[in-house]
Symmetry: C3
Subunit: 343 residues, 3 copies
């Protein structure tokens, strides 16, 4: 694609940029600074790779506005290089269009409503009462159970399952192998026997949400499990019944949420973090990896450890733990000194 077309696309998308170089060259793919060829675009956000700017063979580099004269190759100066890189990468790698197609091996119930330009792949199952809006793409082997609704431009990965009576907004991505709307872990114990609590709630997912491979999101026990707009969820995350994820939040791989916990807006959760049930986290809270969150959090900021505390406190104590053997020896020595003084 000619670079001037890319620049026009950025302008259309409201990107404020300064361009330095020749906009008649071809840019056809993205690449890392170190491996890029002349028809490829790269970016720099981490100063660790600053040296590569001198040696890169990239045709175009996207840089922060402050980095004037930082490289010999054509470059774009912008406020948010990673975002602009995302836009360019999307332009160069358009999604496979969801043309109007139903593979003969797919099983689509006669009472399902399928919009325009919906792609339904091999061995897909679309059950009774399902409604799929225009532009959605269902990859091979996925199952959409009864009365579930998908908005526009959704993309469901291979072998994913969306259980019955769930609701997905527009532009929702469910990656391969994920299970949305399975029964939650609701059981009553009577004299040592477990009795299943029917899970009558649903999963309600907003717009522009992405859910990773082999994730599980349980349907609500009574009310619904809710994922608000603009959330991103990585692989193998588990959300139990009646969890609510506030808009804009990002959850990394293998994190887990017990039932009825509420995460605020614009939170970030690192890998393998665990949340107890029935707790509430305010907006703009950030959890470091492996944290175990056991109580409500009412103040924004970074948290870590188990039970999770402010990250700065955890950091201090964490250093101390690593010095604990030394500290114990110090205490022993103090005792000796005192014993001498006392005698």
């Amino acid at each position: 694609m000619q670079l001037h077309k890319i620049l026009a696309f950025l302008a259309e998308n409201g990107v404020d940029y300064d361009f330095v170089g020749d906009d008649s060259i071809e840019i056809n793919q993205v690449s890392g600074l170190d491996n890029a060829r002349a028809d490829q675009v790269s970016f720099l956000t981490d100063k660790k790779y600053l040296d590569y700017l001198q040696t890169t063979q990239a045709g175009l580099v996207i840089l922060n506005k402050k980095m004037v004269d930082a490289t010999h190759v054509a470059h774009l100066l912008v406020d948010n290089p990673y975002y602009v890189y995302a836009l360019v990468a999307q332009l160069l790698n358009p999604l496979k269009p969801a043309s109007n197609f139903i593979h003969p091996s797919a099983v689509v119930h006669q009472d399902a409503i399928v919009g325009d330009d919906v792609y339904i792949g091999e061995n897909v199952v679309v059950q009774q009462g399902v409604k799929i809006e225009s532009g959605s793409y269902l990859a091979a082997g996925c199952v959409i159970e009864e009365f579930t609704t998908l908005g526009k431009q959704c993309r469901i990965g291979s072998n994913a399952t969306i259980c019955h009576h769930c609701s997905l907004g527009d532009n929702v991505i469910i990656e391969a192998g994920a299970v949305i709307g399975g029964d939650g872990f609701g059981w009553a114990n009577n004299q040592g026997q477990w009795f299943k609590i029917p899970q009558v709630g649903r999963v309600i997912i907003g717009n522009n949400v992405s859910i990773g491979n082999n994730v599980t999101v349980d349907r609500g026990a009574i009310e619904d499990t809710i994922i608000e707009d603009n959330c991103i969820i990585d692989n193998q995350v588990h959300l139990a019944h009646n969890v609510k994820i506030g808009s804009g939040s990002a959850i990394a791989g293998q994190a887990g949420f017990a039932g009825s916990t509420v995460l605020g807006k614009n939170c970030t959760v690192a890998g393998q973090v665990g949340f107890a049930g029935h707790i509430e986290i305010t907006d703009n809270v950030h959890f470091l990896a492996k944290a175990g969150v056991t109580h409500d959090i009412t103040e924004s900021g970074a948290y870590a450890g188990f039970p999770a505390i402010k990250a700065s406190d955890w950091q201090k104590n964490s250093v101390r733990v690593r010095q604990l053997d030394k500290l114990a020896k110090q205490v022993k020595a103090l005792q000796k000194q005192i014993d001498i003084l006392s005698n």
Copy 2:
């Protein structure tokens, strides 16, 4: 459904209750105390929600026997409100009956034996030598591999896989995406190369067992992996080869068991707990979230931490860890005082 029918059902199930109110009303669904309408039933087990009893619009509330005169609406006084709620919720939300049906897209081997009233959904695969007893329900895309047997009233979720030669009892639920009977992690290393140990054991699951979405339970290496009756297992749990789970135990999300570990009867395991291999846990042991269990446990009770110790001890130390920075400063101050005293 008319309330007196619900009461009759409870009596049939041996529930001892006192009912206060008018039993001619209609109750059609469950709900939370705060959102319930006049034709809905709710319950109270957590005192946190006591105030709702004054304002609830529910038609019926299920309460503990001690809560006489606690609400203005019709109510049931029982010993175990959550259990009675489960019974009523099951009555109001009957499972989809597994009528005698095989979807034309399903692939059922001619040598498979399928009982009465078995439902086999879209794109299900039932291989050679499989035996499925009456009343079982196989959701879309699930695979039952060779020579596996399912008891009565089993329910297999969409895209779940039950590998070859496994055995499920009656009333077993396997949720969507779970893999039962995959090969365990058995490898011998010779001069840096890994050689696969054939996994010749099976997975044997008792009656009334439930296994969550995207769980993995590996088949035994030589002997079998065993899940006894009346166990419940949440999403994304991993049981390695030759694990044995004692009857009545409950395992929460993302917990993991290494090979050959034995969990006793009526244990509970919270989320993200990990068990080392080849250890044995006695009956009635309860593990707090994220515990790392590295040794045999021979005494019932609650355990926490890594390595897991008695929860009460862990609690004390856990508080101390959070004060560790302070403690270290105290020790430093003591040293100064002693230095002054010594000079």
Copy 3:
């Protein structure tokens, strides 16, 4: 199978052994020392089971060369009993041969290239441009997306998904439910909105690699995610985009790797370990369970804890943590003694 045939097979495979006993007996299956019958072979690697050698009913036992005269039954003395057991177990339990077969329910694109003796099971999907070499086995319901290539003798489990444009070497096992080549967690945030970074890299898997049930391995963002030869990966492991796993490494269940992290050769990773992104681990590093690895590791050895430190140091501090309540009380007592001395 007659024992002398087994011995001949071992000799062909270069195993140096001493055999004591009668090689005309039949050995038909493997078993544990305690349960073995006369036509079964067992082995001993753990001294815990030494007593069983006196009582075992096994027809053959595989022992370490040093264990001369340790048992009354026929035995093989070898350098690496577990490896020799693996060889014998493989001989007695040959894999189902991947004969030339495509089940009529499978969907194989006309432009896919399928080699000799490839078995394609029920409801398998093989998309456009896929190339599968001879002897590979595709179990029911698995999906091989566009332009992915499989080497010789690969085995893909039921309902597994290999996404587009990935490359698997020879003798690669992908267990049921695994997702190889899903999109990584690449997102740019602009003014609170998440923008997807197209993931244009692939997953490249070497020869003799095994990947467990419900594992997720994300495709690279720009460059590829790489798993070198001879790696073994247990269930529910997550490898993010651009991770590189060095040859010969073994990763246990529920471990997780954030993006771009490099694990060296011949490393072992225990269960539930987590790795931060963009770090590099040298060769021959061993991580204990639940470790959280946050920094580069440049020295071989065993590591544990979070943040991970040398296992020996972690062990010491870990003991101290469990004595922390006692230590804090000691410090308090010291303070009192000093106060007395000072006055």
